[in-house]
Structures are given as C-alpha cells and as structure tokens.
Amino acid sequence: MLAPYRALDLTDEKGFLCAKALADLGCDVIKIEKPGGDKARRIGPFYHDIYHPEKSLYWFAFNANKRGITLDIETADGQEILKKLIKKADFVIESFSPGYLDKLALGYSELSQVNDQIIVTSITPFGDTGPYKDFKAYDIVALAMGGLLNLCGDPDRPPVAPSFFTSYLLAGVEAALGTLMALRWRWVSGRGTRVVISLQDEVLTASWDAVPYWAGSKTISKRSGPFSIRPNVTYRITWPCKDGYVTFFYFGGQTGAEGNRALVEWMDSEGIDCRFLKEQNWDSFDWDKLNQDEVDRLEKPLVPFFMGHTTAELYEGAVRRNIILYPLAMAKDIVNNQQLKAREYWTEVNHPELQTNIIYPGAFVKASETRCGIFRRAPLIGEHNQEIYEEELGFSKEELLMLKQAGTI
C-alpha cells in the first residue's frame, strides 16, 4: 500500500516498530545505523545464544523488511550524505533526545529547507515542549508516568511492569500512523510537517480507567493482581489449572450467557456440585448485584474443575462451547495455536548467513487489494551501503573507501 514512499529510520529501540510497521505495508525503509552497528544489536535474546551483533533476535524481530546502511551523522560528511538522502525521502523517523538533532543542525527547520516535503516523526519520552520535555525515560519510567504501572501487580507488592518494552511498541505503531496522518497533511497543505510522539501519552492511552475514575468520581484505581475488585465484591480473573493458568470470570449480559451455561453443564457432567450455579439467570447476570458470599459460592466449583484439566483441554473445550475462557499462553502455545495456523499467519524468512529459515509473525492485517507482511530479514551491518551510496547517490568506490576509512560509514 505504501510502495511509493521511502522512510529513513534513525531510531533506537524506542522507535523500531514504527518503520517496521510502515515497511510491512510496503514502504521502502532504510535503517541508518552508526558505523559498526546499532547498539540495540546487543539486546538479546540471540540466535543459538551466541552473543553477536548479527545474531540478535530482538534486532531481527523489529528490523525485518528494512534495508540498512551505516552513517555517522555527527560528522560533516555524514550530515551532507544524510541531506542527500533526505532529498529523496518522504519520512524521517527519529528517537534521539529532544534537541539532539537541532544541535547537529539537522532539526526539522533545517531538514525542511533541504526538502520541504519531508515529514519528520520524533519519538520522545514526554514530548518536545512542556515542563518535562527534558526528562529522560526508559520503558519502566514511561509506564510509571503514563499510569499503567500503578494498575499492574499484586496489592501487597510494588507495582510491576510487563516483561517486555510495552511503551516503545505502542509508541512505534502510533508513530507510524501519525506519520501517515502527516502524509495526508502534505497532500492537503502542499508541504511536509512534524509528528511528535510522547511515550508517556502512549502509556496513558493504555491506562484504561485510571483517569476516568478520578475525573468522574474522585476514586483511585488500584492494582489487584489476579483479581477484579468491584465496589461491593472481589472476584478472581486468573486461575491456576493443572499445568498453568487460565483467565476466566463469569461474563455478564448476552455475550457471556451462552458460555456460562455451557461451562456449568460441562462441570456438572464431570460430577462437580453446580447446584448454586444452576440457579443463576445468566441473561441478566451482574456482579454488582451480588454479595461476596454469593461470589464465593459461584467460584467454589471452578477450583477443582480447573485443577483437574490442562490449559490445552480447557481452551479447546472453551472454543468449542463459546466459553469466555483463555489460557495464559506461553510462546509454545502461541506457536502451536490452531487458529493462527488455519489463517496461515506465520511466515518463514530465509537467513542465508545462518543457513536457516526462521519463522516470523506474519501480517498484522489481511487486505483484499494489497499485501501486508514480512518478506525479508533484517539488514546486516551496512548491508546496503553499496546499493544506496554507489548506485543511488553516485559515490565512487574510491570515495566510499575514503568515507569508510574516516569512519563516516
């Protein structure tokens, strides 16, 4: 869908997914790394656990579909080359500290003089203006300041962050869509523009009801771990089973009624005492109309039932019976999931240097007219230097050698 466009990707791990998502939609993306390779190549896990900048699976995952060149934009030659690239590009995606590019005279105003159609997307911790604009943030700090962290974890322990860089990934997708909004603005206004992403704002988007609770009823939402805490009752949402955990709670209204009835029938067929459950009118089920004693009686039969089954048995039965029960999947469950296989989600990608194929997550959208998905592995360090510098920008082999010796590329 985005075949006519080119993005220059200057980001670190805060922004990898932005250009990756654009590339999945067909945009030509050139990843620009420092000579010697991007620092994020040091982030694990690694292929066969071999620590090597060409073997980071983290790098593979978020830089596939991109071409790669090396360039030191802190040198005068590097800046000239970058400007040449910008003349032929539509988007520049960056995640440096706010002000860094301005100091190098590569800020938006300079770049738009080079190419007034250019769109510059900046992924920042807190935005580019305002009292916190110079504050630093890694993922956990952004999660804290955006309000999601306070909602996650057990009540008797500190708030806990997901064990992956949630804020960077949300910001990446938001940056990609912001970049395309700017593309439309270019079409409307006749010139390029800026896009600013704040990690804090991204997390705020995911902080569910924290702000509404305070704004609407001066209540502070608290973390409740595997439970859901309502005004009158507390019920469990994460349950241990024979070999892992499942998410289940009796879901109200029509959406949940069919599955609730089916679950009761299933438990009953296995000899579990479901007398109290059978008295429920599931069509009008509402947690807020119960007291805690009733909740306890509703939940009691679930304990032996879940402990008597594996996650796979429970999930397979849930899909068949439309019960809103899902496993807390591990990677193996995702890789073996029948639905993903039936939809041919996975894509095998060749890594000739490793003499192997690796399976990757496929398209994030199935489109009728166009193709989204993965078609090439992440670039090696400087893999496309020749292609871009010689064939596109017209540097001679000698010039290229000089630039290499100077450490520019």
Partner: protein, 411 residues
C-alpha cells in the same frame, strides 16, 4: 500550490471524510478517533435496544449509572456522532446502506458474520460504493476455527502471552490490567486506515481489511516467539528487573502506596545517581562498581536504594534524579495523571462540557502534529445526531423522517 498559515489553521485534515461505525467498546471507536479529532465525520450506529455496551461500563459520573454517564464512553468516543437505527427493521438496513453510499470508510467490530447477515457485508457494500474502505476487527479474525469465539481485551492479553510474563517469578502471573490489547488492535487498525486512505487517493481503489487482535498482539511478542522457535526458551516473569540495567525497578517512597520508577542503564547515569544520593559509602563498594555487578547484586542494591527513596516523596525522587540526568518517574495514579503538568500542557486529558452530566472526561489521541489543527467535542448522547444525519447527509424530508420515526426505524 501552497497555502498561507492562516488558511492552514482553518483546514481540516480529514475534511469531507465520512466514517460509519458498526463497532462497540474499545477497538473500533478508538481506531477512528484519529480521524474524528482531525475533522472526519464519524457516525456511530447504535440502537435504543442495543446502545454501545461501553455506555454501561463504570466509572459513571458521580458514581450514578446511566446511559450518558459512563466516563469510559466519554473518554473513548469523543468527537463521534450517534445515530440510532433499528437494523432489525428492513428500512433501518436501507438507511444504513444509504449512509454507506455517502461514506468513505466502514468499521465493522461486531461478531464476524453479523453485518453480512444483515446484507451489509463487504460484498454488499462495495456494490453500493465501489471505492469503500471497510475494516473488520475482531478478536481472532473473520476466518478460522476460533473466529466466533467470544472474548475481550483482557482474555486476548492472556492468549497473546502478555499476561503470563507480567508479574513476579515467584508468584502466579498478575497480568496487565485492563483490556490492554484493545489498544494494540486499535493502533494497528488506525494505521491500516491511514494507509488505505492514501492508497485510495492515489489509485481510486477501496479495499477490505480483516484485522485479528490476536495477530496484531503477537508483533509485540516477536522477540520471545523467535527465542522459543530458535532456542526453545520460554520467557518467564521478571518482576521489574532488567538483565542489563540496575537499579531498575519501582521503589517505595514516603506516603501511602507511593512509588517511583528508576532506571539506570549507563555508567554515567550510575555516577549521577550516586551523586544525588550524596555518594554514600556503599555506592563505592566493588559489588556495585560495574553494571554486571550491580545486576548480580540487585537485590541488595534495591534495598539500599529504597532506604533513600522512602524518606522522600516520589515527586522529590523524580525531580532530584531527572535534574541529574537519571531516568525516574512517579508511579502515577489517576489523581496524579489528572494533575500532571506535562499532560495538561500537551492537552492530553481534559474535561468537556456535557449537557447531562456537567462535564465529561476526554482523552485525546496519543499522537501530536504540532502544525495541524484538531478539535475536541464531547462524546455523543445516544441517538443525538439521528435527525441531523438523516436530513443533512441523506437529504430526508421532514415527512419522510417522521414516517420512518413513527415506524420505529430509529429505535
């Protein structure tokens, strides 16, 4: 041709774009917010019998339930217009078709097959509007054995592996709070719509999209999936630790349930961190001298750090460390967010006047385009725009509207 900045200030990014939304709750409405805040006309199809269930999701303004009182609805559905249509009535379906014929985008977030059964599937709608862009979004996609398995953003976080890896290694998973993955799917859907609008403006072609929330989510877990496929390793819960940073975590501060997150990755950040603490003797010990040794001894390190943070408010810890170039942030609750000077500065959250409840909370989309004008309007009352849309968009006469009204088409 270029416009002056004054002219630009009056322009709307999505001027003339009309979107019909057959989608409730989080994903669909969130995915079209980008269009709505920047000038598109977003029309949400509800009915009196079946309003958007988000209207009955707590919290309610002043804790009083009511169809116009949900603060979740007002947070997510700002800038939308609401039309009530009885799609069980054949004339209701006719009106939906007439609307689509004058629209650019259709969002389908209902159970797979529902719209097709009503005669409003993609194959029906492209006949009415050949260049229509239609995006269906559901839990696991329109096809496959689990296509119709009901779920929501909490269960999909489990299915996608997020909840298993959120929590403490010595305990059961605590999971990510709330329907987190609704946001993931909404972002990928919004991105897809942007690309589709651009594609249509270049080629004249619309198209159909099938978005599976599950398939979007797995892009966030890609490194873990590759680790399993290549190295047969499963990622476990890591609490707040990071294998290449220390201190890295959440530290208790003065006050009740008050915390500050601190992350030290680089040696220079460690030096600054020690300086802020007044270089106490323990910071000079060899067991904390390098990143590797700090990570290895992080349990003891965290205790020592907390002995310092506990004597300060989280705001003090944040400001002291940030001034020294160390990443630190208050673990903000709803009240903190509401008063956050940065969020206020960026107009990220605000209150809008509302005719039934006084004021309603509004959370703007995450992205900022500093040069592009946007506007915020409160979420719609149920059916608030029915008459306006029928008359203005569909050119209905008073008589026709009243006849249909009396026929129960707008219930």
């Amino acid at each position: 041709m270029k416009n002056t900045s004054e002219e630009l200030n009056k322009m709307k990014l999505y001027d003339g774009i009309r979107v019909v939304v057959f989608a409730f709750l989080g994903v669909g409405p969130h995915s079209v917010k980008y269009l709505a805040e920047y000038g598109a006309e977003v029309i949400k199809v509800e009915s009196r019998f079946r309003p958007d269930p988000m209207r009955s999701v707590a919290p309610f303004k002043d804790n009083i339930p009511g169809v116009e009182r949900s603060q979740m609805f007002s947070k997510i559905d700002n800038n939308a217009n609401s039309i009530t249509l009885n799609l069980k009535h054949p004339k209701g379906v006719d009106i939906a078709k007439r609307l689509v014929s004058k629209s650019d985008i259709v969002i389908d977030g209902w159970t797979p097959g529902t719209l097709a059964k009503l005669g409003l599937g993609y194959n029906d709608l492209r006949r009415i509007k050949p260049d229509i862009i239609m995006l269906s979004s559901c839990m696991q996609g329109q096809t496959g054995p689990a296509a119709r398995h009901p779920g929501h953003g909490v269960t999909l976080g489990s299915l996608s592996g997020f909840n298993y890896i959120t929590g403490w290694p010595d305990r059961a998973p605590s999971g990510i709070s709330g329907p987190f993955t609704d946001v993931v799917a909404a972002l990928f859907s919004a991105l897809t719509l942007q690309a589709a609008l651009d594609y249509r403006s270049r080629t004249g072609k619309g198209q159909y999209f099938d978005v599976s929330q599950y398939e979007c989510n797995i892009h966030f877990s890609a490194p873990q999936i590759l680790d399993y496929l290549v190295n047969q390793r499963e990622l476990n819960r890591q609490g707040n630790s990071c294998s290449y940073a220390a201190p890295h975590g959440v530290f208790q501060c003065r006050g009740e349930d008050r915390w500050c997150a601190i992350a030290v990755f680089k040696d220079e950040e460690w030096k600054s961190f020690c300086r802020v603490l007044g270089n106490p003797l323990w910071t000079q010990e060899p067991r904390f001298a390098t990143m590797l040794s700090r990570v290895k001894n992080s349990t003891e390190l965290d205790k020592l750090v907390e002995e310092w943070t506990i004597n300060h408010s989280p705001e003090e810890v944040m400001v002291l460390l940030q001034k020294a170039g160390v990443a630190a942030g208050v673990v903000q609750n709803g009240k903190d967010l509401w008063q956050d000077p940065q969020l206020i500065h960026r107009n990220s959250i605000c209150e809008l006047e509302h005719p039934e409840i006084g004021t309603a909370v509004c959370q703007r989309v995450g992205v900022t385009l500093p040069e592009v004008p946007y506007e915020l309007r409160r979420a719609p009352l149920l059916g608030e725009h029915t008459e306006d849309i029928c008359k203005r968009v569909l050119n209905m006469t008073d008589e026709e509207f009243i006849e249909l009204f009396n026929d129960g088409v707008f219930e």
